[in-house]
């Protein structure tokens, strides 16, 4: 099989296409503590995310992502692991995902293998233009949580500059 076909199949693995076709986390959240929107204007990926916190823990998370298969799948995977985790844990996981996709190194004390299907996104590294698609849900979540921590109001975020650090 041609090397590029192999890389493409790695990016679009069955697990990812499954998340794309049946995305998890598509629910409304009552009494949300954090509501945030994110988009990648040049791709056409858009996400809206709602989180209800109990203390510093995510009690419920729902999101709605319209966009490419990578952005939708990544959002779906995020929704599978977010509930029950603290803000601090989610920040470390987000940093680990970013590390996995950008430098290939995970600095945080996080084992991505343990986190549902997330490490399957690693194939996106071979297609640098798509990294921001995989990061959109994560950046939108973390920015929303940080704004909440700072007592700020909500604005749309984009991963277009932050993806390739």
């Amino acid at each position: 099989m041609h090397n590029h076909d192999h890389q493409l199949d790695e990016m679009y693995r069955d697990i990812i296409l499954d998340h794309y076709r049946s995305p998890r986390g598509r629910k409304d959240v009552s009494d949300p503590t954090v509501v945030n929107e994110g988009m990648n204007p040049s791709c056409g990926d858009e996400i809206e995310l709602k989180v209800r916190l109990a203390g510093d823990k995510v009690e419920e998370l729902g999101l709605h992502c319209a966009g490419c298969a990578i952005s939708v799948a990544s959002g779906s995977m995020l929704s599978e692991i977010a509930e029950g985790r603290t803000i601090g844990e989610l920040k470390r996981i987000a940093a680990a995902v970013k590390g996995m996709l950008t430098t290939g190194e995970v600095q945080e004390d996080v084992d991505l293998d343990e986190l549902s299907d997330i490490e399957v996104l690693e194939g996106v590294r071979q297609f640098p233009v798509r990294i921001k698609c995989a990061l959109l849900a994560w950046v939108t979540l973390i920015e929303g949580l940080e704004r909440y921590e700072n007592g700020e109001t909500v604005k749309p975020s984009t991963t277009e500059e932050s993806a390739i650090a």
Partner: protein, 419 residues
């Protein structure tokens, strides 16, 4: 409808023969032959253009306009020869009315920041269309922010054509400029510029035409269409990147202030003042892209040898075939006019269940180059209810077998993503 005899007598373009003149078309991508369908973004170059640029540096390179020595004369000759070619190409205009720029974007920005800033005020109106490229949109948005001028948009109908009835009511006496594309880079729609120009002139408004997508594919006579300004790019018509031009009527250009200052565009310079050169040089500050402009001549020569009528006819036939084959696919929706009378070889579409970015990625793995995204027309794409579309665009070297490969790849993509 032409008779068969008439069609036979006309010189038909032989795209297979033409392809031999374009070296890049024989390369492969991920193990597949390149199928280049992104001509609205930029076009490939015939070997004669590539060699012209190379030969310029090998044989004639020097700075233009200032030198006495032979190389300077030759370089200037090559540069100015392209200006003469363009003047003829646009329907026989004065050479002084042709300003070289880096492309369409810079040309339109020149009009906005020079003519626009000097002439427009708060009670004035600029009329655009809903199908403009950012190059013919953002400069006017900026101008509106600076001067308070009002921007209104000619709407498009569900077929992707301009609503001409609305044009009549939107182009009011307060209208000072109508800026519009001659052919949409998203919908492929060819606009009736002459008709709208007439409405504009009746109200005393000027007309700026974005010719980036039109002039590579059809004959253009700027006076016949009623333009006061016409902007276009070299790289979209087989020429080098970094080349383009603004044509403007003499009286307009003579009244306009330059926006870039420095060498070449001056006449007299003292410690405390400077005077400007005559047009066109007033607007050509600094050392230009001499090699690119010189090689651009070869692009014109190539198109002339093929004949723009032959190019247009080839694209009509090709686009008709493309639309017919795309329409066969039940999972696909096409945007824009369905009649090739009103549309050029640019087709945007959507495949059910596959986002344009994923589709473009998959097609790339099959060697097929298309574009996905907003195509520098975010407001238009959002008007279509999308955040992105997939776009295919052909040119004189595009073949029907490439369309067949595209269709096969779309079917394979559908199986890959949807099942």
């Amino acid at each position: 409808m032409e008779s068969a005899t008439h069609t036979m007598l006309k010189e038909r373009l032989d795209s297979r023969k033409i392809r031999h003149d374009f070296p890049i078309l024989s390369r492969s991508v991920h193990g597949h032959p390149l199928v280049y369908l992104d001509n609205a973004a930029t076009t490939q170059k015939p070997i004669s253009v590539i060699e012209a640029e190379r030969d310029y540096y090998l044989l004639a390179n020097a700075n233009v306009h200032r030198g006495i020595h032979s190389l300077a004369e030759e370089a200037t000759g090559a540069y100015e020869a392209t200006r003469d070619r363009i003047a003829a190409w646009l329907g026989g205009v004065a050479r002084e009315e042709v300003i070289f720029t880096r492309g369409t974007t810079e040309a339109i920005n020149l009009v906005a920041s020079s003519w626009g800033v000097a002439n427009l005020k708060k009670s004035d109106r600029i009329v655009l269309t809903q199908m403009e490229h950012h190059a013919n949109l953002v400069p006017w948005i900026q101008l509106a922010e600076r001067t308070g001028v009002e921007l209104v948009y000619l709407p498009i109908d569900s077929s992707g054509r301009l609503d001409l009835a609305a044009a009549d009511s939107l182009i009011t006496p307060a209208t000072r400029l109508v800026a519009m594309t001659q052919m949409s880079n998203v919908l492929g729609t060819i606009n009736p510029v002459e008709q709208i120009a007439e409405l504009a002139h009746r109200q005393g408004a000027l007309v700026l035409v974005d010719g980036a997508q039109s002039i590579p594919h059809m004959p253009v006579d700027v006076n016949a269409i009623g333009a006061d300004f016409f902007a276009f790019s070299g790289h979209k018509m087989l020429g080098p990147t970094g080349t383009g031009a603004l044509w403007g009527r003499r009286e307009l250009l003579e009244a306009m202030e330059p926006v870039q200052f420095g060498g070449e565009m001056i006449s007299l310079v003292r410690w405390d003042r400077a005077t400007w050169a005559e047009i066109p040089y007033k607007f050509e500050a600094g050392t230009p892209n001499i090699a690119g402009v010189a090689a651009w001549s070869a692009a014109f020569a190539y198109l002339e040898s093929v004949g723009m009528d032959a190019v247009l006819e080839h694209e009509h036939t090709w686009t008709e075939y493309l639309l017919a084959r795309l329409t066969e696919l039940p999972f696909l929706q096409i945007f824009g006019p369905d009649d090739v009378k009103d549309r050029g070889a640019v087709v945007s579409f959507e495949v059910d269940g596959i986002h344009p970015h994923d589709l473009a990625q998959y097609l790339d793995s099959r060697g097929v180059a298309v574009r996905a995204g907003h195509h520098c027309a975010q407001p238009l794409i959002r008007l279509l209810g999308r955040t992105a579309t997939t776009r295919v665009s052909g040119y004189l070297y595009s073949t029907e077998s490439e369309v067949d490969i595209l269709i096969d790849s779309l079917q394979a993509a559908r199986r890959y993503f949807v099942g």
